[in-house]
Amino acid sequence: MSSVTDVREHELDLASKRVRRERSGSPRLSWRTVQRLKGASFTWPFFAGFALFTLVPVVMALGQSLFTTKSSGLGFGGAQVTFSGFDNFARGLADGVFWESMLRAGSYAVVVVPLTQIVSLMLALLVDAVTRRVAGRFRLSLLVPYMIPGIVATMIWIYLYSPTVGPFQSLFELLHLDINFFAGSMIWVSIGNLHIWGTIGFNMLILNGALQSVPRELFDAARVDGASELRIALSIKVPFVRTSLVLTGLLAIIGTLQIFAEPVLFRSVSPETITKDFTPAMVIYNQAFQVGNLNYAAALSIILAGVVGIASAVIYRFTNKVGS
């Protein structure tokens, strides 16, 4: 046995480099298999962590939601975990507070996201309508909101809205207007404005990239035919970016259903308007960390994920139709 190996090694010393690599792996595996294995191994660290921090929690959420934890007695003597099937889901599906918050976030998303897209498109068309040099001068200032951290942006606007610190109040007094940005009827407008302010610069950048791929000859041809600039924008440029506009907009609706940080920050100045169960994510947070019912919170998370999933599927259908 050992003599065979010796002979092989002797042969291999004389052999080409390619054969030498074959030996360096394992004698039984071809060099191609070793290469593939090594190639795959580049991805192993990522997928190990991905499985632990993404896939395991998903499975845990499913498991958690099927149990109920009851603390026996007056909080002494440990908790008792029992299997309860779909009880948590049944409770969640009938939970008025949860669905109210879902309706609130959903209607906000349906209004503010298209509005953001339209404003972004207007901005992108304006930037596209000037020479590149002029556009470059504006672009950086328009991206300032993107560079400001979301929490800081929310705080800035809360102070701007505030009747004591904000600059608007004196203006309103001058015009004899009585506007309270934190009142129940205004709160979504206030948050919506904050959202629009924070995202139009970034969206403009994406849309502008898409507009760059419109063949410039089309504009000249249209001008020769006597089209106005507005007509060119509406009839040539907008159709070019419509698909990406609809797709990103609908994805933004999904994101908005999970809105959390902004209402939580607004709650710290106006707790009477923003209740602790204002949005679905806030209901889940409240159930998990204030009430302490992690099982029910897990079930609500799955219901929210389900709603988001259904919305995504509908959106996928819808965009395919728009695209074709």
Partner: protein, 323 residues
């Protein structure tokens, strides 16, 4: 002048990335033609009366975008009394330095600690995520092996998992792993970013030629050595993009730290500012000035970083939008 040059560079990078991603030759040709039109001819530029309308619109949008940032800068320079009594959009007595000194002194220097925590979490997480994502993206782009399609489907599929689904079970998992309420809960999970892997893969497909790997193999370099001495160097731009995007995301993060960190000495700066703001004017000391000054101090590093590294994140933005 330098700004224009930077923009052109950005445009070039973006264009290179886009042509690498999309193999559509017509789109590439179209884009080249657009570039050939040059800087000033501006095929799309509006002339005449509507030019002034367009400019007015742009100026209004600019005021809207920059105004709140201006208010923050102005307010951070004011004393507590003048914050309430003077015009919010113009300077009063310039007390920025005093405010900053007070900010860092307040509560035995909590703010400095929070700032340091943010730097630590963002840096450590970004370094780990960049290395792991580059390796994974390189593996997915350069090699053919069984299960590759499935793993790519997992990466893309995970973009659709709503963050809200993961919160509660992640909390339980972190408690069990002993990561809860430690700095590791902010650092280790940050190593694994599916979107970064996607960016790295797309970039590697365009930037690392297969022929180069073949040549390295013929010269006798192993697969790992090839990655470290050739692959990583060609992926520097993608690495910078991933690092930057994650650094910013980690700096801005709020929900994760809110759930995972109870010890206020471990908080990142955003969570600390939130806790101060919640206190409002109810406490003995009005901390509004401190929150405003703190917001400015926490924002400046981000703005500097993003302005200095424009070409990287803009390329990332374009790649992301094409997914």
């Amino acid at each position: 002048m330098s700004l224009t040059r930077m923009d052109n560079e950005t445009a070039d990078t973006t264009r290179a990335v886009m042509s690498a991603e999309r193999k559509d030759p017509r789109a590439v040709r179209r884009r080249r033609r657009g570039a050939a039109m040059g800087d000033d001819s501006g095929g799309a530029a509006v002339r005449g009366a509507s030019k002034w309308f367009v400019l007015a619109g742009l100026i209004l949008f600019t005021i809207y975008s920059v105004g709140p940032a201006w208010w923050l800068i102005v307010s951070a320079t004011k004393s507590r009394e003048q914050l309430y009594t003077t015009n919010g959009l113009w300077f009063a007595d310039f007390r920025l330095i005093d405010n900053i000194v007070e900010l860092f002194k307040y509560e035995n220097g909590s703010f400095g600690l929070w700032l340091w925590n943010s730097v630590l979490y963002a840096t450590a997480g970004s370094i780990g995520q960049t290395i792991i994502a580059l390796a994974a993206g390189y593996g997915l782009a350069m090699y053919q092996y069984r299960g590759k399609g499935t793993s790519m489907a997992f990466v893309i599929g995970s973009f659709l998992i709503p963050g809200a689904l993961l919160t509660v079970p992640s909390y339980l998992l972190f408690v069990q792993l002993g990561l809860f309420d430690t700095i590791w809960s902010m650092i280790i999970p940050a190593f694994f970013g599916p979107f970064s892997v996607y960016l790295a893969k797309v970039y590697a497909e365009g930037a690392v030629p297969q022929e180069l790997l073949e040549a390295a193999r013929i010269d006798g370099a192993g697969e790992y050595r090839t990655f470290f001495s050739i692959g990583l160097r060609l992926l520097t731009t993608a690495g910078a993009t991933i690092f930057l995007l994650h650094f910013v995301a980690a700096w801005n993060s709020f929900y994760g730290p809110l759930i995972m960190l109870r010890d206020r000495n471990l908080w990142p700066v955003m969570l600390g500012l939130y806790s101060w703001m919640g206190r409002g004017a109810d406490s003995q000391v009005d901390v509004t000035t401190l929150v405003i000054t703190g917001s400015l101090v926490a924002t400046i590093p981000m703005v500097l970083l993003l302005v200095a590294m424009q070409r990287y994140w803009r390329a990332g933005v374009t790649m992301g939008s094409l997914k």
